[in-house]
Subunit: 360 residues, 2 copies
């Protein structure tokens, strides 16, 4: 075929593609322009061996002129695999999850996966809906920071659908998860307050049906009991991980006739709410009340009071969870059982200025 003929044909095909306007060119167009069969084009695209130098070149050229991008929807349908994984988090504005997401994404990209992110807004119904959407989209697996219900999870696992919990696990489920040692970390945090001399120590808990809720309470309980300190009912404030709940619990605590001298807040958002309530009541921290918080972030260290926190390895949580998910997907594909278990990472206490001995 002469160069001229090639050019002419190219223009013609380009035009036919442009006419349809938004529709993009297909393997068919490429094959036609290169003067080969679509099977050959497919082989070139997928780097299969056994295509001659000459045709490979022709095909590549045709793809370039047409600016061809393979249709992954069609491919997914054929191969029964999308190379997309879903991630559902309860609060996308919480940096904890977005840092984890970076770990997930980096690891995902390394293995050729894309990421669909869903935000359940701490709403179990919406979480169910998101999971079933993801399933319908035929994602290859899901990372889930649960907002509480196990219903969706049950349905999916019954189908042997690859799923890994991250950060939060509904109490009861205890496999295929990447979490931190919440009991240990909460124990250390409470110990820190006790060692400073505090006795009236309050806690603002997260959602109790979740591991991050109940385990942190357990660690707190353990430390308190060990030190023979009572846990007053009014010092036990049940929050739900939201800023608003932290705010409300903070007000509840500091308006008591005998307010606590130290508060253990179980996540970053609730701590922000707590600090707001302290500001509103003009209660200085740590002078009047010490604050220790789960989750460590950029703002914690450079404003006043510099917060004492329990720092979690957020990026690593995401990274490790994605690795586990990939192993499960592969095992599933080969029809064998994966024997993935729960992975527990350590957390770290960062002592700063928001905790101090109680004022006499």
């Amino acid at each position: 075929m002469t160069i001229n003929l090639l050019r002419q044909r190219s223009i013609q095909i380009l035009k036919s593609v442009q006419n349809k306007n938004v529709k993009s060119s297909t393997m068919h167009d490429v094959a036609r322009l290169a003067g080969v069969s679509i099977a050959t084009v497919s082989s070139v695209i997928n780097g299969k061996s056994g295509v001659s130098e000459k045709l490979t070149e022709k095909v590549n050229q045709a793809m370039a002129t047409l600016d061809y991008h393979p249709d992954l929807v069609a491919r997914s349908l054929k191969v029964g695999r999308t190379n997309v994984i879903g991630m559902v988090v309860p609060d996308v504005t919480n940096q904890f999850y977005t840092e984890a997401m970076r770990g997930v994404e980096d690891e995902a990209r390394k293995h050729g996966y894309m990421l669909i992110l869903g935000n359940s807004n701490e709403d179990t119904d919406h979480e169910m809906h998101l999971l079933s959407m993801l399933f319908s989209q035929r994602v290859d697996g899901v990372l889930l920071a649960s907002s509480g219900s196990t219903a969706a999870y049950d349905r999916l696992t019954r189908r042997r659908f690859p799923i890994v919990f991250i950060d939060r696990v509904p109490v009861g489920c205890s496999e295929r998860a990447v979490i931190i040692d919440n009991v240990g970390a909460a124990y250390e945090a409470t110990r820190h307050l006790i060692s400073l001399g505090h006795e009236r120590i309050a806690i603002i808990t997260g959602k109790l049906p979740l591991s991050t809720g109940s385990d942190r309470v357990d660690g707190y309980r353990k430390a308190m009991q060990e030190a023979h300190l009572p846990i007053r009912e009014e010092y036990f404030q049940v929050g739900d991980f939201s800023l608003e709940s932290g705010h409300q619990c903070g007000l509840n605590l500091m308006k008591l006739s005998e307010p606590p001298t130290a508060i253990f807040s179980c996540n970053n958002k609730m701590t922000l709410g707590l600090m707001r309530s302290l500001a509103e009541l003009a209660i200085p921290c740590p002078d009047k009340v010490s604050v220790i918080s789960f989750d460590d972030f950029e703002w914690a260290a450079n404003f006043s009071p510099r917060l004492t926190t329990v720092a979690q390895p957020t990026y690593e949580i995401g990274q490790k969870a994605m690795q586990m998910l990939i192993r499960i997907i592969c095992a599933n594909k080969d029809g064998l059982d994966d024997n993935e278990n729960i992975l527990v990472l350590p957390a770290e206490l960062h002592v700063r200025d928001s905790t101090a001995p109680p004022s006499p």
Copy 2:
């Protein structure tokens, strides 16, 4: 068909589905179990009129027993539309973008769209790659907070691919975007510092090839010129929106023999870096230096110093951008030209404690 026969058939089909294990049931299975054609099943699923009470019931029952979930991959291939839109942001750990994302998601859900989120990490190459992946995934449109390059954008618009810029626009592109009045907001911010009596006012800029970089500089310039204040070269620090750049610029500024008495930081992450540098150098704010920052967040108001900020309507930006994108998609579908333009939202100055008159 007797109830018994139905049950028997159901068990048989269920078993055949379970054997394939992870594969889920198809319209075919449903049709077989319900004893109808797959076209009828399709009609029921899509709520088409003209299916008898009786068959509708049968089909619904069959779908329930099989726990059938439609394969959106197959549907997408057929109808040439995925009902998925992509969103690419330069820093997913920046709450600005996740709050915008909430607006996007709420609006998307309302119209039956799902969301794929990509994080370009301020890397234009990676951004290109993400965009081309999204295109291959055949998303119906893209929301883009650009990290600087226009190359990807050009390629996509040439194909008339629906795309809306959000927050940041590469200088030059000036259509289909939802942004705020950066010049005006930066002008007001600088005016605020000037009105407090500051004359040595520094700026930490963002990436200059982006509207959020250059427009904010323009506003600053305008205010300074109007007040007949010089813009010293060493007070003009070019950052890149990252915490690290804010930190470095902060150090540069405060180590000058004649440091500024006020600093205008052009986004939240850089402000965090700036505050870190002030802490390291033990320079009190606002006593020695005033700080005003773009972007307002939860932590800005309840720690000390309470930050003076320019607050953007983050949620609304996302919401409005998604609405615009949907309009473009619809116009495209009907083959007509959309006449969408740029949408500029107002920002708001929140005066708090980090800005004060210069110390004498």
